[in-house]
């Protein structure tokens, strides 16, 4: 009777255990499947998502496409939460079925419980002695395994990924530190010949008149965006080829503007791993030479982190007619003779710059001036102004700057009877003596991230930036001139990228979203503002009395400003995106688009 009842219980419980076990297996399988599916595709990373978005960017006004995108997005989001709920309920199901299975199994086991029937033991055998003996050997074995593991760890103690050659122990034991960027300032001699031969030619700095004729740096001879030539083209159109003298492809991308000296146009380009300098023939557009800038330790090891839109070659080159100089986002600085021979190169250390180094170079007499502002705050004390000998790259002077990273380019002006190197950063506008680095004056004028470079006209320095004000500073002060020499301030139309352009009469500001604001340079105050309804990254330039404004789409506007307002005189179209500033020469404009370098002017035929 008992027997049969136990049997029924066993049968029932065993079946229940099997069913619950089946459910458990199914639940686990579903969970694993779900997990694999989640691993394989994150709904938010779905390819349809990115392709639809790309399509939308192409046709930003396509309402049907938008609706479609929204529907897809909603479905993907639902899918995400559905998966999460699925995993949760799957887990609960698995645990419940596990519990049921265990319970049923236990009942089944108990129903069939047979009393153990141990065999009789031989009383004479000392089993304790036997197993303890074996256990001692086994303990010895475990001990051996532990020792082997310890030895393995000790031998492989090095840094993974560095071939085990290098570990913190080296620093601690030897008491050494990793080489600082400063230590790497010494001239390096990479294998491809850079630095082996100095240019033996005439080292006299170029005369002012030579400089004035050329376009040797960002925004022209004095860095103010003012052309020395009035006879430059007004109209061009890439589609019809009208007004295009030549167009040449530039191998690597770069957001730097062309610089020109005589018959040579210089540009640089870079990607994550490669940095290059190009020299084009100004008349034909032929690529005369190109050179790879070798990675100079320590920066060579890794790519700098830059914003996509910045790129790895944002700073514009500089030239003094003997050499062309280029600096890249990783702090590598290189000089080539204009004929294309490597002169020297060095690394200034990876700039600690949230979006990559972008300040352009400039040459003053025999010095190459580099504004290397870096670090997240001025407390970091990492920002420097450097002056290097153009012939050798030797550091002539350098000063620490009390500012965090900035992206503006300095200018050299002549005011109050002295040469002044004007730098703009958060919060200080500082004037240095270019020959020595001695500080003339400083003014607390700017806030946050400074992109626009300073401008100068008629004894006044003009600085402006988004979230700050436009300040006109009389450049004849001494010490902190914030309270004494800021002649006037303006609040409207603050630019974040494009630099101001100043004349005796006007100060022009151009915002990235296309508002051109004109101030009265003498007294301050807005005269007028014009909405150009397109985006800008290039700084405005002045030819004669007309402003050249190149928009990001490649469209350019030629406007004639007066005190009352401005008149649009002409428009041009490059046919490709453009974020760089034009270089003006005799009858020519050199302009870099996203992939090509253009020479604009009267075609020869």
């Amino acid at each position: 009777m008992m027997e049969s009842r136990d049997n029924t219980v066993y049968q029932l419980a065993a079946r229940m255990a099997i069913v619950a076990g089946g459910v458990l297996i199914v639940a686990c399988a579903l969970l694993v499947y779900d997990y694999a599916r989640r691993l394989a595709k994150d709904p938010f990373e779905a390819p349809i998502y990115s392709s639809l978005r790309a399509a939308l960017e192409q046709q930003p006004t396509n309402e049907a496409l938008k609706e479609h995108f929204r529907a897809v997005d909603l479905e993907l989001r639902r899918e995400f939460f559905r998966q999460r709920a699925f995993a949760r309920s799957g887990a609960v199901l698995a645990i419940v079925s596990l519990a049921v299975m265990l319970f049923a199994w236990r009942v089944a086991v108990n129903a069939r419980r047979r009393p153990p029937a141990p065999e009789a033991l031989d009383a004479a055998v000392d089993r304790e002695a036997m197993w303890t003996g074996r256990a001692r050997w086994a303990v010895g074995g475990v001990c051996g395994v532990l020792i082997m593991a310890a030895l393995y760890l000790i031998i492989n103690a090095g840094l993974s990924g560095a071939g085990g050659r290098y570990s913190l122990a080296d620093f601690v034991r030897a008491g050494t530190k990793a080489p600082s960027p400063e230590a790497n300032q010494a001239l390096r001699r990479p294998s491809n010949g850079i630095g082996e031969k100095r240019d033996a030619r005439d080292e006299t700095p170029p005369k002012d008149a030579e400089v004035a004729k050329a376009w040797p740096r960002f925004r022209g001879p004095s860095g103010l965006g003012i052309s020395a030539y009035g006879n430059v083209p007004e109209r061009w159109d890439a589609k019809t080829g009208q007004g295009i003298v030549w167009k040449s492809a530039v191998p690597l991308p770069g957001n730097n503007s062309p610089v020109v000296w005589g018959t040579r146009v210089f540009l640089s380009g870079a990607d994550k791993t490669k940095r290059e300098v190009y020299c084009f023939d100004a008349d034909s557009g032929k690529l005369l030479w190109q050179h790879t800038v070798p990675g100079t330790p320590p920066s060579a090891a890794r790519a700098p982190k830059v914003l996509d839109d910045t790129g790895y070659a944002a700073p514009t080159m500089a030239t003094d007619g003997h050499r062309a100089f280029a600096i890249f986002a990783n702090g590598d600085l290189a000089a080539f003779s204009v004929e294309g021979k490597p002169a020297w190169s060095k690394s200034l250390g990876m700039p600690e710059n949230s979006y990559g180094h972008a300040s352009s170079l400039l040459v003053h007499k025999n010095l190459l001036l580099v504004q290397l502002d870096q670090g997240g705050s001025s407390e970091a004390k990492k920002s420097r102004m450097l002056a290097l000998e153009t012939a050798s790259g030797r550091v002539v002077w350098q000063v620490t700057r009390p500012v965090p990273n900035s992206w503006s380019t300095p200018i050299v002006i002549h005011a109050a009877g002295r040469d002044q190197l004007i730098t703009a950063a958060d919060p200080w506008v500082i004037s240095y003596e270019p020959a020595s680095g001695k500080e003339w004056w400083r003014a607390d004028c700017l806030k946050t991230d400074i992109g626009p470079s300073p401008a100068f006209a008629d004894g006044r320095v003009y600085v402006a930036n988004e979230n700050s004000e436009l300040s006109a500073i009389q450049a004849d002060g001494q010490g902190d001139v914030t309270a004494t020499h800021v002649v006037w301030k303006g609040e409207e139309g603050m630019p974040d990228t494009c630099s101001p352009l100043a004349t005796k009469e006007f100060v022009f500001l151009l915002t990235s979203f296309g508002t051109l604001t004109c101030y009265d340079a003498r007294k301050g105050g807005v005269l007028w503002a014009e909405d150009l309804a397109t985006d800008f990254a290039a700084s405005p330039s002045l030819v004669g009395s007309r402003l050249y404004l190149v928009s990001k789409t490649g469209k350019s506007f030629l406007v004639e400003p007066t005190r009352k307002g401005c008149k649009r005189v002409a428009e041009g179209d490059l046919g490709e995106r453009c974020v760089t500033s034009p270089a003006f020469q005799d009858g020519r404009i050199y302009l870099r688009g996203s992939t090509h370098l253009y020479c604009l002017g009267e075609s020869k035929h």
């Binding site: 887990a91 265990l102 304790e128 002695a129 303990v139 310890a150 000790i154 560095a162 913190l168 122990a169």
Partner: protein, 430 residues
Amino acid sequence: MRIAWYSGMAVMLLATSTAPAVERFPPPDFSDHELPRTEMPAARAELYEYLDLAVLGIGLGMATHFAIGRRSRRGLFVVTVVCLGWLGFWRGGCICPIGAIQNVSLALFEPGYALPWSVAIVFGLPLVVTLFFGRTFCAAVCPLGAIQELVALRPVKVPLWLDQALGLLAYVYLGLGVIFAATGAAFIICRYDPFVALFRLGGSMNLLVLGASFLVAGVFVGRPYCRYLCPYGAILGLLSKVSKWHAKIPPEECIQCRLCEEACPYGAIREPTVAMQRQTRQQGRRRLAAVLIALPLFVAGGFWLGQALQGPMAKVHPAVRLAERVHAESVGLVSGTTDASEAFRTSGRSLTELDREASAVYAKSYWAGGWFGAWMGLVIGGKLLYLTVRRRRAEYQPDRASCVSCGRCFWYCPSEQARQGWVQLTPGRQ
């Protein structure tokens, strides 16, 4: 129009991601708009904390009562299920004396860390109970033990010699757990807790697979985690050896039926010893002398080997790994950056400061490694000592270190069955 502003900004890279405190856009002064409140859901009420401690205390009391007093396996089973439900699934397995080892270690070695009262109680209470009653905490209260207890349905017998040798791993784990907690490197016991992901019905796939593997293994090998890995079990085992009222198998007199030994899935029951022969006894004495002499050598050798582990030990600490990485990046030994090195650079901390921290950990690791090695030497020597010294037993007895007081043996013991009145022992049949 601000769209263009944004893209323009992006082009000329005008932001520092490192300065969140910058007020780029002054908050407006609204005339008639009330700012919403930032939501801050409160933590679990303190009441629950007491409730958890109460459950632990009552659970311990009940488990002890059923294991030692009532000798009821059924009662223990109920306590097991309740404690698994509360401390395991409801509280996510985080009222855990096993993990508390690390908090205690950290509190001992790190002057800045205050041991919370609740953790002190969670850690200390089972120790004290064990000192008097044996491992009743393991029997039914510990959720990790409970879940393994419930799945131990078809246990095979692990040979005692293997069982003893594998038991050493728990001491390794204990040593590492204490050392890494002391240097502030990591709480490895928590990090690799196999069942916590099951209790929370989710978590990292690796941990879920680990937990499931332990459960499946637990069907065939009784309580694999408790016996071979649990660091707290190692401590409890030592204390249990001197417990006053440890569970006894036969209530009165052992009839030497061997049933209990068959029934125990954890290899915790030792049979009566036979009289030793003279030769064995002499051999035993010589062996004992050898082990006693070797013990200090084991400790010293362990220390020597352990301090050589300084490098690998230090590397468990994130600061050391970060310092190495940053140095390697700066001299070009590795390419690219990691989130950690990137975060370090934007944090404004100086490398000197990081070096100082890493060097301090590195220096500490010398002693940490050394003491860990010495501990292992002591453990191995002690184990050999235990395996060399013979104790006399006249009846079947649980090995107090291994026995978790689960009460299975009561069920099988004929004397117990007679006492409970389930069977009548007829003297005539013997």
